[in-house]
């Protein structure tokens, strides 16, 4: 009986836990509860994914009101894989986050910290689970508002400014999204995504729908952090608490990507968005320029966290490229890239955070000689870094492979060149860290620097091994993704 309610349980478990978190009196109990809730959601999702892998889409009408009148939760293959990503990264991150948060967040604020985290988590899952477009907006805002608060809890006062910036841009993005929903609603009279997808067909070539498409894209571009709108991303990832940056880097932007795919492919249809409208060209242009500029910027950074943030912008560029090319390998590449960028970037932020905690700094010179003192941490960092580069044997390679295939299929040789060149740029900045970590000697004045505690090591090593496992045995993943993509392209 309870299994029938899994789609909604996965959202409300963190929500309820968040409420309880704020009143828990004992020291580690908020963390324990947050961990429990995260894992509970994760297990629900695992169960759902098993069901979905067998081939069924799960539909859950809220309160028993059927769509299109009621709000409907609908989990198909596309949302399932993103659900798995979000909850997986969150499970690893929350385990990792305990010691880091202990040091970075004041004792009396910790329960709110975890409560806000749970709200954010619940919001992200809600976006993925629901099939109601207005509900997506609400959940998106729940998670975003929670994110602003989380970022503002950073130790440095620059975190506040970053968070404010993020708030302004995020809210603008959300309002654009809201207006787009209004336009679509006024033309179709429905808020249910599957329903809209049908009702939009006769009116698809009207001006309001085109406007809606534009508003959606701009709004989501702000949320995702697509190249010229990425300023908030770099600042907030750099200054947020360690746990938050590792959690956010793996999740929030990926949810934005999910919505973009869901709406442009699933609702408007890929031929309308990317062929009738010049959206494809715009995304490809922004993606390519973004990849090159952000990778170069990442090379020039001295602060490793900021370098990782710029690298995120560049990696998002790949996703956008894949989406913009709007063909089967492109979309597959975009999805795989979104998933594994999430996984490996989370691991990298975790490793950088662990190093920051033991060396008390995150600039390049703090990494000197880390390779000897914290070998496992740096291993996790390197493996994930190599996955970003796209070395064969890591999941990043599979994503690049698909993207290159897509570039060939659509005959875009510039894109092809951009992908190749940028993987070299990526290698350069990853290599910079490896070199410093292994071939410089640590300052004697650093004192004792020890390996990170086990509770931090296991999550980051776990995440980095996931990239290897799926890089070496990609067949299940690629098979699953190709099913998603065929469904998106209406096969």
């Amino acid at each position: 009986m309870i299994f029938a309610n899994l789609p909604v349980l996965l959202v409300i478990i963190p929500l309820i836990a968040a409420a309880i978190c704020t009143v828990l009196p004992w020291k580690h109990s908020p963390w324990a509860l947050a961990t429990f809730a995260t894992f509970a959601s994760f297990l629900c999702i695992c169960k759902i994914v098993v069901q979905i892998y067998a081939g069924s889409t799960i539909i859950y009408p809220m309160g028993g009101w059927l769509a299109p009148y009621g709000i409907e939760y609908r989990i198909d293959k596309l949302s399932a894989i993103f659900l798995l990503l979000i909850s997986g990264v969150a499970s690893f991150a929350i385990v990792y986050g305990m010691p880091a948060t202990q040091k970075e967040v004041a004792e009396n604020k910790q329960k709110f910290f975890y409560a806000i985290y749970l709200l954010c988590f619940s919001g992200l899952l809600g976006v993925l689970a629901t099939n109601d477009i207005f509900n997506i907006y609400v959940f998106l805002e729940i998670s975003s508002i929670a994110t602003y608060a989380l970022v503002a809890m950073g130790k440095d006062r620059r975190a506040l400014v970053a968070s404010f910036e993020y708030l302004i841009l995020g809210t603008i993005g959300a309002t654009f999204f809201l207006i787009a929903i209004g336009l679509v609603y006024s033309m179709t009279g429905s808020l249910n995504i599957s329903d809209i997808a049908i009702k939009i067909r006769p009116v698809v070539n009207t001006i309001p729908i085109k406007m809606a498409c534009a508003f959606f894209t701009v709004g989501l571009a702000l949320k995702i952090g697509i190249f010229p709108l990425h300023l908030w991303l770099t600042n907030s990832y750099t200054n947020a608490p360690t746990f938050v940056s590792s959690f956010l880097s793996g999740t929030t932007t990926k949810v934005g990507v999910y919505i973009l795919i869901r709406i442009t492919y699933g609702v408007f249809g890929h031929d309308f968005s990317y062929i009738d409208l010049p959206l494809g060209q715009i995304l490809i242009l922004l993606g390519s320029v973004g990849i090159l500029v952000a990778s170069t910027a990442a090379i020039l950074q001295n602060n490793v966290k900021r370098m990782l943030a710029y690298s995120s912008v560049a990696q998002i560029g790949y996703i956008i490229l894949g989406i913009g090319m709007a063909n089967v390998p492109g979309a597959s590449g975009a999805i795989i890239q979104a998933i594994f960028h999430g996984v490996s970037k989370a691991a990298m932020f975790m490793a950088a955070g662990a190093i920051m905690l033991s060396v008390k700094g995150v600039r390049l010179e703090h990494f000197e000689g880390i390779g000897r003192r914290m070998p496992l941490t740096i291993t996790a960092f390197i493996i994930s870094g190599l996955s970003l580069v796209g070395i064969p044997g890591t999941a990043g390679f599979i994503a690049k492979w698909y993207l290159l295939q897509a570039a060939i299929a659509s005959g875009m040789w510039t894109v092809f060149a951009v992908i190749i060149i940028s993987s070299l740029l990526t290698l350069t900045y990853v290599w910079k860290i490896i070199e410093v970590a292994f071939f410089e000697h640590m300052d004697a004045g650093r004192g004792s620097v020890n390996e990170a505690p086990l509770i931090m090591l296991i999550p980051m090593l776990g995440l980095s091994f996931i990239t290897i496992i799926f890089g070496v045995w990609p067949v299940y993943m690629t098979g699953y993704v190709s099913q998603i993509v065929t469904a998106l392209f209406g096969g």
Binding site: F134, Y137, V138, E141, S144, I145, Y148, A149, A152, R157, R158, L160, V161, S163, F164, L167, I168, G170, T171, I172, A174, T175, L178, I179, G182, Y185, S186, L191, R363, E365
Partner: protein, 124 residues
Amino acid sequence: MTLDALNYWVSFILMMIGFFGIVSSGNLLKKLICLTIFQVSALLFYISVGYVKGAAAPIIKDVIIDYVNPLPHVLMLTAIVVGVASMAVGLAITVRIKEEYGTIEEDEIAELDFKKHKRESKKK
């Protein structure tokens, strides 16, 4: 263009006013105020979408008449809450910024940050 579309024009003008304010003002508080204007324009837009000329408010009465579409109102109720929440967080952050920096003028904050950054890199 007729006056039928007036609501939409007003909402888009409001939106642009808000947007302009966000971009142009350097004071964080003013930015937040403009952000609210920006959000409110979306509310107006929705209400206009749901409005039916000459119809009554959607409350059940014995005499059946035309109702305006209640759904946009409900949606906007939620949107208002979302707006209030983000406003609350924004104000809280502004207070904290004031405490930490002693100012809420954007250029002054940037200057303070820059100075700190320079000090840090010099220390190295």
